[in-house]
């Protein structure tokens, strides 16, 4: 017989027992292990997500710091450029000032040298002129230059062509006027007396005349009062004209040189 009632019942019981045992020894532990593993993997994934999020935040913070650093760098660079520009302008200005000062000193030095040269040249010209004129008068006209100058001075004095009033100003009437007669050459006593007498005739007060030889007195004579007033009869006016002419002759090449330097 293919079908047995007791066997059917026994197999149902067997299957139920198998069901219980497999649930106890197979499905429950395997499911628990799988769930535990899934939970563990989920936790790891969650931790990985958290770490990824932290890494993202770190990255954002690093980016922000990097940006801040870049801005700080740009600001510092701009500040340094501005400071360098200020320093450059100051240095340029200082250099200009130093160049100007050097140029000014150089011009002053040139001017001093020119003045010294002009003074030396003038002195040399005066001496040479004086020497030449004196020699020419003696050789060609048989005349003494100093005597002729004094003679002309006295002549003009007699003709009232020389104003002596300034020599008396500031003196009281009771005091003698002290005058200093300076000459570049030795005056003979006769000439000295002749000059004193002629002066006395033109002055109101009594005079006391003192003689003084000054070699660089431009080849002439000069009266100096105690009040500082002067009456000169010498080559100074001619020499000043000569000096102006020499200055023009000297200044012309200097101005050309200066123009070339400024260009």
């Amino acid at each position: 017989m293919l079908f047995d009632g007791f066997t059917v019942f026994a197999q149902i019981v067997n299957f139920l027992i198998l069901l219980f045992l497999l649930r106890r020894f197979l499905y429950r532990p395997v499911l628990n292990a799988m769930q535990e593993r899934e939970r563990h993997i989920a936790e790891q994934l969650e931790q990985a997500d958290q770490k990824h999020q932290q890494a993202e935040e770190e990255y954002q913070r690093y980016q922000a710091q990097n940006q801040e650093l870049h801005e700080y760098y740009v600001q510092k660079q701009r500040q340094a450029e501005e400071e360098v520009e200020i320093w450059r302008k100051e240095a340029l200005q200082t250099a200009h000032q130093e160049v100007d000062a050097t140029l000014h000193n150089w011009r002053q030095s040139i001017a001093l040298e020119k003045d010294d040269f002009a003074a030396g040249l003038r002195q040399f010209a005066v001496q040479q002129t004086y020497v030449i004129a004196r020699r020419a008068l003696r050789d060609l006209a048989d005349a003494d230059f100093e005597k002729r100058m004094v003679a002309v001075f006295l002549s003009r004095l007699k003709q009232n062509q020389i104003d002596l009033t300034q020599l008396e100003q500031g003196y009281s009437e009771t005091i003698d006027v002290v005058l200093t007669l300076r000459s570049a050459f030795e005056l003979s006593p006769a000439l000295q007396e002749q000059i004193r007498r002629e002066l006395q005739t033109h002055l109101v007060k009594n005079i006391t005349l003192r003689y003084e030889i000054v070699p660089n007195l431009n080849a002439g004579i000069e009266l100096v009062g105690q009040n500082g007033s002067q009456v000169a009869w010498n080559l100074r006016r001619y020499l000043e004209a000569l000096e102006d002419e020499l200055d023009e002759q000297i200044q012309e090449p200097v101005d050309k040189q200066k123009g070339r330097m400024e260009a």
């Binding site: 079908f3 045992l21 497999l22 395997v30």
Partner: protein, 236 residues
């Protein structure tokens, strides 16, 4: 030649008897339970695991995937029942290649017992999911006129389950025995390999059909289509 192992009675005391079906069923049960216990006593929840645990997880995961795919529900409530059916049948059928072993599934009593278990499990799961009224309403769907046909359908599919499995396993073993007597070399091996394939497929079909019936009872108003398609695929 015995068609069913029920006929081989080893011990009997009145109506209580110990036949080859029950004995080999106990053997299969022992293999399953002791094997599971040996593997799961050192079970680990880490990624690294033993080969046995890996095999059990593949089997359990595969069964759960099939249940989820069929029922579109959480597979855990049905895993023990459907998984036990599948494992018992497949182990019984695979062991049929062992000389002297008579598969319990080759007994109509065993397949009837398993079919009766399915017949009982369907209303139990149906009532558990939908309640008593919700489950009973299915028998009068789409009209109350369909009530007797639905009841007949329940009984006939249970009978079909039992006879299909019995017929396939019994015929496989019988054909192998007959061929062994006619053509003793080579050809029985091929038939036994074919019998292994048939046995595994039948275990799969039995478990899938059981799940289809349970799913049709647990899903309101949508179970009949699944049942019809399941029957067609099983017969094919």
């Amino acid at each position: 030649m015995e068609i069913s192992p029920d006929a081989l009675v080893l011990w009997q005391w009145g109506p209580v008897k110990l036949n080859a079906t029950i004995l080999f069923t106990w053997l299969v049960m022992a293999i399953l339970v002791i094997g599971s216990w040996l593997i799961t006593r050192n079970i680990k929840s880490t990624v690294a695991m033993s080969r046995g645990q890996n095999m059990l997880e593949v089997i359990v995961g595969g069964v759960m995937d099939q249940i989820r795919e069929i029922s579109q529900q959480d597979p855990r409530p049905y895993l023990a029942f459907v998984g036990s059916l599948f494992l018992f049948i497949v182990v019984s059928n695979v062991l049929s290649i062992v000389p002297g072993f008579q598969p319990p599934t080759g007994s109509l009593s065993t397949t009837t017992a398993l079919a009766l278990c399915v017949l009982l499990a369907v209303p139990i799961f149906g009532i558990w999911q939908q309640g008593l009224l919700g489950y009973l309403k299915q028998y009068i769907q789409p009209t109350p006129i369909m009530l007797p046909f639905n009841i007949i359908g329940e009984l006939s599919r249970t009978l079909a389950l039992a006879v299909r499995l019995f017929g396939n396993v019994m015929s496989g073993g019988l054909i192998a025995a007959i061929l062994l007597s006619i053509v003793p070399l080579f050809f029985p091996i091929i038939m036994q390999m074919l019998g292994l394939l048939t046995g595994i497929i039948q275990a799969y079909i039995f478990a899938v059909l059981a799940m289809v019936y349970i799913a049709s009872a647990t899903r309101a108003h949508s179970g009949r289509d699944d049942e019809t398609s399941g029957e067609q695929s099983a017969d094919g």
